[in-house]
């Protein structure tokens, strides 16, 4: 990457719900072309921060730029068109459409969506591209099945594939590994790394420290709405203060050992 400026810069983003502060981020930068993990305990405001950045929720104050473009006040679909595409913690596949139709909707290059005629050739080209991506995600055999017939893990894959179909500069994944079996987790991690190889920036929310250590280039830690630490995985995850305070002092100990200690 020739361009070393951060792709996303947010300042003083504040969101409170009826007196409860959900997000109070003073300043954060997301490095371009890297994989950044956003971690923190439950209720830290990670998903709310995601919603704010992507326009699905509006902060009381704050400003942020994506690739130099100010995004605050934009509608979610406008944010997506700037090249910042998100997925959801609870997957949102379009159930009564086929897997391939889900992918084709992901494309942003279909003039036929504006009630224009002569879209057939473009659809054919986009379908070829979609099948290529589906093949990478091992969903090509499911292309003509209803998306609602997919398993939970496959839905996660489809949602990620659909986001890629949109050719974003940055992909934001909200807990991509939640509820996915270990075998599929491996392939998801592989896909996330693959996004980086293709020049995309990735920001993802995750709980599992092993995953974060394995895949992330940069880690941002949130707690009680604030950003309390950031750095490389090595720095952040070895900081006992961070680990103890926000992930629990015993997060790495065997439960049986804990019980023995308590009994003693």
């Amino acid at each position: 990457m020739q361009n070393d400026t951060p792709i996303l810069v947010a300042d003083r983003v504040h969101r409170h719900f009826a007196g409860v502060t959900a997000v109070d981020v003073d300043h954060v930068e997301i490095p371009r072309g890297k994989i950044t993990a956003l971690i923190g305990p439950n209720g830290a405001g990670k998903t709310t921060f995601f919603n704010l950045l992507t326009g699905f929720d509006k902060p009381q104050t704050g400003s942020w730029t994506f690739d130099g473009v100010a995004l605050q006040g934009m509608k979610p679909w406008q944010v997506a068109r700037q090249g910042m595409v998100r997925t959801f913690q609870l997957t949102k596949v379009l159930g009564r459409l086929t897997v391939l139709e889900n992918m084709l909707i992901g494309s942003k290059r279909q003039p036929g969506e504006r009630l224009l005629l002569f879209w057939k050739n473009r659809d054919r080209a986009e379908a070829a591209r979609a099948l290529e991506i589906l093949e990478r995600f091992k969903l090509d055999t499911k292309a003509h099945d209803y998306a609602a017939s997919l398993s939970g893990g496959q839905r996660k894959l489809l949602e990620m594939a659909r986001a890629i179909m949109n050719e974003p500069a940055m992909v934001m994944l909200d807990e991509p590994m939640a509820g996915v079996n270990p075998a599929l987790t491996q392939s998801l991690l592989h896909h996330i790394k693959d996004l980086r190889e293709q020049g995309m920036t990735v920001l993802f929310v995750e709980h599992d420290m092993h995953m974060v250590r394995y895949v992330a280039d940069w880690v941002v830690v949130m707690a009680e709405g604030r950003i309390i630490a950031e750095g490389t995985p090595g720095e952040v995850l070895s900081s006992t203060a961070v680990v103890d305070a926000y992930l629990g002092a015993h997060h790495d100990t065997d439960l049986r050992q804990l019980i023995r200690e308590m009994e003693a």
Binding site: P76, W77, A80, K92, L94, I105, K108, E113, L115
Partner: protein, 323 residues
């Protein structure tokens, strides 16, 4: 045998055609986009009165009257859609049903009777163009077991041509990427937003297109008869939902088939009741026709239980949970 033939005659009557067309419009809202429009009767009323008043009061030529009426319906759709479509789905339902009733009461009121005829409605002095262009020989035309007045047959012909042409356009629309986006919105609005689709704009387009089709149905509806404000009550909309569910929502020919079956069954039960009265089963027709709606209701319940996707619908589509 007469009872069968009389019932089957409903397959091709202008009323069946007009209802089919309005249900096609409603299908764009409900079946494809997931918009809960409970006031399709309002669009039909705008079509009927808009056309009749344009011709009778303002003396517009027929093509101009049609154009003005359809534009009026589009404006009405924008008026309803712009403030409500960004809210949750149920708000559109409330606003459409209320607006349709406002329209009906306004048309029924004596305040505007100069133009609308108030509760008396409007006599048919607006379909001269249709009668003048009738190519069939005057008098009674026999087709198979049925006889039609020449004018009625011509109106039915025109109506069904409009219905088929509209169904063709809808087929092209819903198979296009635009139709795909509508179905995506029906499935999950937030997913569509996250992929850069301007959901509200698409919903507005769907509301306008379905509403304009509803108004066109209103124009057809009043050609063979007069304009009666009572016709445009909420029951009209609910009958259309019945047709949609019967034929299969989100299919192209579902609303047409639904309208045909609906009117055949209505006529059939009507005839049954008449026979029942003749044989002393009921005291009078009023008593019997209440039983008729019970029969129709039971049939609908059975349909929803045993074939919830309708006749043309796709069972696997419905076997999934809504989300």
């Amino acid at each position: 045998m007469d009872i069968i033939w009389n019932s089957l005659r409903e397959l091709i009557t202008p009323t069946t055609a007009a209802y089919a067309l309005a249900a096609i419009g409603l299908n764009v809202h409900f079946g494809f986009t997931g918009l809960l429009n409970f006031g399709q009767a309002g669009f039909v009323a705008i079509g009927a009165y808009g056309f009749a008043i344009s011709v009778m009061t303002f003396g517009f030529s027929t093509p101009l009257a049609i154009a003005v009426t359809l534009l009026l319906a589009a404006a009405y759709a924008l008026l309803l859609g712009v403030p409500t479509l960004r809210l949750r789905a149920d708000y559109l339902a409330i606003v459409t049903i209320a607006a349709a009733e406002i329209i009906r009461f306004a048309l029924n009121s004596s305040a505007f009777a100069k133009w609308t005829g108030g509760a008396n409605g409007l006599y048919n002095e607006y379909s001269g163009w249709l009668k003048d262009s009738n190519p069939y020989a005057s008098g009674v035309v026999r087709i198979g077991p049925w006889t039609f007045g020449s004018n009625d047959l011509w109106i039915a012909t025109v109506d069904w041509l409009v219905v088929l042409a509209t169904a063709g356009v809808i087929y092209l629309l819903v198979c296009s990427p635009w139709g795909r986006v509508l179905k995506g919105i029906r499935e999950d609005e937030n997913a569509m937003l996250s992929l850069g689709k301007n959901v509200n704009l698409y919903k507005l387009q769907a509301l306008v297109i379905g509403g304009v089709i509803g108004a066109a149905a209103g124009i057809l509806y009043v050609q063979p008869t007069s304009v009666q404000p009572f016709d445009f009550a909420t029951r009209m909309t609910f009958n259309m939902y019945t047709m949609l569910i019967l034929g299969g929502a989100a299919t192209v020919f579902g609303p047409i088939l639904g309208s045909m079956i609906f009117w055949v069954v209505m006529r059939f039960t009507d005839e049954l009741v008449t026979i029942g009265v003749e044989h002393g089963l009921f005291d009078n027709v009023t008593q019997g026709s209440q039983l008729r709606f019970v029969l129709v209701g039971v049939a609908l319940v059975l349909l929803v239980v045993f074939r919830p996707q309708g006749i043309l619908g796709n069972r696997t589509e419905l076997s999934f949970d809504a989300k």
